[in-house]
């Protein structure tokens, strides 16, 4: 194909505009691309009826919280060694959503991970010993073991796991609705990592 001079000239005239447009588009996309690359995975499960979100907490965050509540050093040191994950659950539906944490399973590539539940802490704290008021506050910061989430109710709390460096997968199921209309909803959240303190 032969190009006449006027055609080439016309092309060259539009070329700077095309290059400029590409540059602007690239620059505008850059922050999004950079954020996406550095962003932590969304530890979230979305269902039309409810949402589950996980937020791993660093040992410093946990220590700061309980220190501010007056917890003794010995207890803080123990808490720093746990893998704390704050769980937020929101019922988005007009039905009751049933949560039973006893069916939640945690696993790493090396095997299953046993959650440290309320019973664990209830029998552990007296061995320290930890004052009753601190035990009570600690219990309040844990996720309830079971709860019937009423329409539009949102509740949350912490779960504690042994601190591991590997990624953790959580599998669980919730039940939406009551009686014969009840629907069992399995959920899976992958690539959960125990949060580490920032390196100074």
């Amino acid at each position: 194909m032969l190009y006449s001079f006027p055609m080439i000239a016309a092309r060259h005239k539009t070329l700077p505009y095309i290059s400029f447009t590409i540059l602007i588009v690239t620059l505008s996309l850059l922050p999004t691309l950079v954020t996406a690359a550095g962003k932590k995975p969304q530890l979230q499960f979305d269902h039309p009826e409810f949402q589950v979100r996980l937020l791993p907490r660093t040992p410093d965050q946990i220590a700061a919280f309980y220190e501010a509540r007056g917890f003794p050093k010995q207890a803080i040191e123990i808490l720093r060694k746990q893998c704390f994950i704050t769980v937020s659950i929101r019922n988005k539906s007009r039905k009751v959503v049933w949560m039973d944490v006893s069916n939640w399973k945690f696993a790493t590539p090396s095997g299953s991970l046993k959650r440290r539940d309320r019973k664990h802490w209830q029998s552990f704290w007296p061995t320290l010993p930890l004052e009753q008021r601190f035990q009570s506050t600690f219990r309040w910061t844990l996720l309830p073991e079971s709860l019937d989430f009423r329409p539009e109710e949102a509740e949350g709390g912490n779960i504690t796991l042994p601190r591991v460096p590997e990624p953790i997968t959580m599998t669980a199921h919730f039940t939406v609705g009551d009686g014969s209309d009840a629907q069992r909803v399995p959920i899976k959240i992958e690539k959960i990592r125990c949060a580490e303190d920032a390196i100074p």
């Binding site: 009753q132 008021r133 601190f134 009570s136 506050t137 219990r139 309040w140």
Partner: protein, 192 residues
Amino acid sequence: MCIQKKWKTLLKRTSALLLGLILVIPSLSIAGNLPKGIIEVDGRSAPALALNDIDGNAFDLISTRGRWVFVHFWASWCGPCRREMPAIQRLDKQLGTSGIELVLINTAEDEDTIFSFLSAVAPDLPTLMDIDGLATEKWQPRGLPATYLVDPQGRIRYQALGGRPWDSEAYLQFLQQLPTATPRPKSDTTGR
């Protein structure tokens, strides 16, 4: 004469019907249109609640029989409690002599923490202190904050889910209607 009699009977019946409606409407509106986040519970007896307030005065829930009681559990570390407390202080002022008593219970915090928190957020509100947190446990709240509405017979009738804008019109109207509303019979709805 006959027409006059008929009119009188009709007027009497209409008045009786209107009076009946006036008496029934408050309880119907409470049952059917609960404000967002308020759930009806089974009317179980309220657990014991005998604690001291921050000034050392003793309080026992039994002493409130005959009145509706707004029982509210809170802690200074709980975000929704912090956001809700100013609304409760305004509610306290707005309820005035409505016949509803506000009872606040701090869960497992010390006097200094409670004092510095309330003096900054809601200085006019008194609170009971559940120092070891055991009284709160007996009420089995779903989380903190937790609010229960206890009827004059000492039965839990309603429960609020999380923090609520208590001084807004819908909640205020609901609360103000409670002393005049006819208690509903036990239902199957269960709280936790």
